[in-house]
């Protein structure tokens, strides 16, 4: 999930999610970057509505808690 966290970090800060930016963030965290994964992430996110996913997460959180009780 580090790659996803890096992408969300950039998204949150209003930065473009590029291979270079992802690489820089992960390296700063002391993580060895796999180039192919970074490339794949950037390509995949082009077709993903991050805001929509985040909005879904906000709704889903409470549901997740209710579920085990059910």
């Amino acid at each position: 999930m580090e790659y996803i966290y890096a992408a969300l970090l950039l998204h949150n800060a209003g930065k473009a999610i590029t291979e270079e930016a992802i690489t820089a963030v992960l390296q700063a965290a002391g993580i060895e970057v796999n180039e192919a994964r970074a490339k794949a992430l950037v390509a995949a996110l082009e077709g993903v509505d991050i805001e929509e996913a985040i909005a879904k997460a906000a709704f889903a959180a409470p549901a997740a808690a209710a579920a085990p009780a059910a």
């Binding site: 999930m1 996803i4 966290y5 992408a7 969300l8 291979e19 180039e35 192919a36 490339k39 794949a40 992430l41 950037v42 390509a43 995949a44 996110l45 082009e46 077709g47 993903v48 509505d49 991050i50 996913a53 985040i54 879904k56 997460a57 906000a58 889903a60 959180a61 997740a64």
Partner: protein, 296 residues
């Protein structure tokens, strides 16, 4: 070296130019790929070429020339010759191999399957009406193994059925009928067999990125962040509202459950008492209507 020079002297100038052109295209782009174009109509290739013209260059060349060009380049470029197929085109781009793969996938369109071709997946005919009026087609469908009948003055498929299993050859009659029903079981377009990017060769298994998985990963990551922020009471712009609401809800719960006689919870406490009273009253009334006031 001498032998090679000797060898190249035998090939005509246009071939030399073509080889140089391929080498130049490879060197002037970040990424190049091998694309299978076998069985694709030239008109379709022309259309794809036009559609991609802003992001990629598609070049159809002879395999022998491509092979020669690749072998003359350094790094692990010659290894790309492994992906030459019967009919192979080269594609060049400055996008990432993943983006290239996605672009090429998007050029694919459903196409009819020919008789004798192997079904890539189960071919299913869905139950429902067709556009055909009753006629000989009814018998043709039936003999092709498609359960058809007449319904409301039209030929209709009676039930959803797998008419050809994945891996089996499509019989002639069935292929004809599938075409007539406008069922296109094949997805045809440029197949990226491999992409070369900065010393690394990417194969389709790696390039096929599942966007829905990324979408759900992002949901999970955002959820994790949200939970962590709220559960540790570390306020962020996105969670401060939730933290306040949580604190308020907890306070209200405590107030009501412990019957703390504070103004902020009186409405809930009064409502709760009233509902309890109503509940007890209705049970009492079931035993004896005279046990409670008329207005209950």
């Amino acid at each position: 070296m001498a032998e090679e020079r000797h060898h190249t002297e035998h090939i005509p100038q246009w071939k030399k130019d073509e080889i140089e052109n391929i080498k130049e295209l490879i060197q002037s782009h970040k990424v190049f790929g091998m694309v299978r174009i076998e069985g694709i109509l030239a008109t379709k290739i022309q259309k794809i070429r036009r559609d991609l013209k802003d992001v990629a260059v598609l070049k159809v060349s002879r395999n022998t020339l491509t092979e020669r060009a690749l072998n003359q380049l350094g790094e692990s470029i010659p290894e790309m010759t492994r992906y030459l197929d019967n009919q192979t085109a080269l594609i060049f781009t400055n996008e990432s191999p993943f983006k290239l793969y996605k672009l090429l996938e998007q050029t694919k369109t459903p196409s009819p399957i020919k008789a004798g071709a192997i079904a890539p997946e189960d071919i299913i005919v869905q139950k429902g009406p067709t556009s055909f009026p009753p006629g000989p087609i009814l018998g043709e469908l039936q003999s092709a193994g498609i359960p058809a009948s007449i319904d409301a003055g039209k030929v209709a498929v009676k039930e959803t059925k797998v008419v050809c299993k994945a891996g089996e050859a499509v019989p002639q009659k069935l292929a004809t009928m599938l075409s007539k029903l406008e069922i296109y079981p094949l997805i045809v377009g440029l197949d990226l067999r491999a992409a070369y990017d900065d010393g690394t060769i990417y194969e389709p298994e790696l390039l096929a990125v599942d966007e829905s998985k990324y979408f759900s990963d992002i949901i999970r990551a955002a959820q994790n962040a949200f939970n962590l922020s709220v559960n540790t009471a570390y306020p962020t712009g996105a969670t401060i509202g939730t933290l306040l609401a949580k604190a308020y809800a907890e306070s209200k719960s405590l107030g009501v459950n412990a019957v703390i006689l504070e103004p902020g919870v009186m409405d809930s406490l009064l409502a709760k008492a009233h509902v309890q009273m109503t509940s007890v009253a209705s049970e009492a009334a079931e035993k004896d209507a005279n046990a409670v006031d008329d207005d209950l």
